[in-house]
Subunit: 171 residues, 2 copies
DNA sequence: ACCCATTCATTGGCCGACCAAGGTAAAGTT
DNA sequence: AACTTTACCTTGGTCGGCCAATGAATGGGT
């Protein structure tokens, strides 16, 4: 009866093999899922689905950009971005127009109405962050960020999904 | 030139607002996504999609169970599990039969062929975990697990998605 | 000028995951 | 026994994500 991690204990008090064989992997999945749900709730008030807010934030930051830049910034699949934009366009958050300088490219920008959400979204993210980190003191927060960055580095490396990795890693 | 976190620096060397307003939230999304991709690659060899392996592991652990137990153990939406099982059934990893003791319930179990994958999947998870944690010393790993558990607790609490939360939390 | 490789974006198909709504069967109430 | 609530699962729809394949325009090489 080691009463190990609280989360598993709550359910069946028998740790799934998954948790034994890969505690961090397991934790990452679970945290990500819960975080996504929490984000969904917070974003419901601003008529956005989780994931879309990052795209909008980038637009609010940088104005009219072409899709490629969004793909690179968000590190998503092109098709994902296309579909997100189609939906965001339909909900009126985004406008697309052909790039006059390059006839195969498309320029994307946030609509004026969407800019009204800007503050709300940032507040939402702020409270989400605070909620996520409740009970962690500053040192713990810093450490968590540092460790997550390291993990991201690891996953990024072999995944080879980060296109432009010049060895800037250091402690 | 502060050369802050390596990951952002690689892309545009301008931190998105999202990273400023919620560094951990941002990191969690990114790590989760990369982790999922990595899992997908590792699982490709065993004919499973990321997410399915957890379900299978539970089945291998516990034998024939009813769907409700899977839902509780994996903490997923019922409909999600239903659809996963339909696909797993079609690919021959899983078998379903009505529960004789309860005519609305269904018993699920892993097929014999799927059991051949058992070891492969655990190895896959092991290597995924190792890949994720490469370069972190034991103390860092422990700390990461601890912090993630704390975050999970936080997110779990308000999300109220963990059904059976008796306060078993402690260091 | 021509051809070929690259880049930009889209489509279609798939999976995990959610919610909402529905149908059936088992428990609980009166 | 009849009624109501609860539990179990399914269906249909939506979104974020991926991959593979496609079409259109740009750009480099010869």
């Amino acid at each position: 009866m080691t009463r190990a991690t609280p989360a598993e204990d709550a359910c069946t008090n028998a740790l799934p093999t998954a948790a034994l064989g890969g505690p961090v992997s397991h934790a990452v999945s679970r945290v990500a899922r819960l975080h996504r749900i929490a984000a969904g709730k917070v974003l419901k008030g601003v008529d956005l689905y989780p994931g879309q807010e990052l795209l909008m934030m980038h637009l609010w930051d940088r104005g009219a950009v072409r899709q490629t830049e969004l793909i690179r910034a968000l590190e998503l699949d092109p098709s994902t971005v296309t579909k997100m934009l189609q939906r965001l366009e339909q909900t009126g958050h985004v406008r697309r127009r052909p790039d006059p300088a390059d006839r195969r490219a498309v320029l994307v920008e946030a609509t004026d109405e969407s800019c009204a959400l800007h503050t709300a979204v940032e507040n939402a993210w702020g409270s989400l962050e605070e909620h996520t980190l409740a009970g962690l003191d500053p040192a713990e927060r810093t450490e968590l960020v540092r460790l997550l960055a390291k993990v991201e580095e690891n996953l990024c490396r072999e995944t080879e999904d980060c296109p432009d990795r010049r060895g800037a890693a250091s402690g």
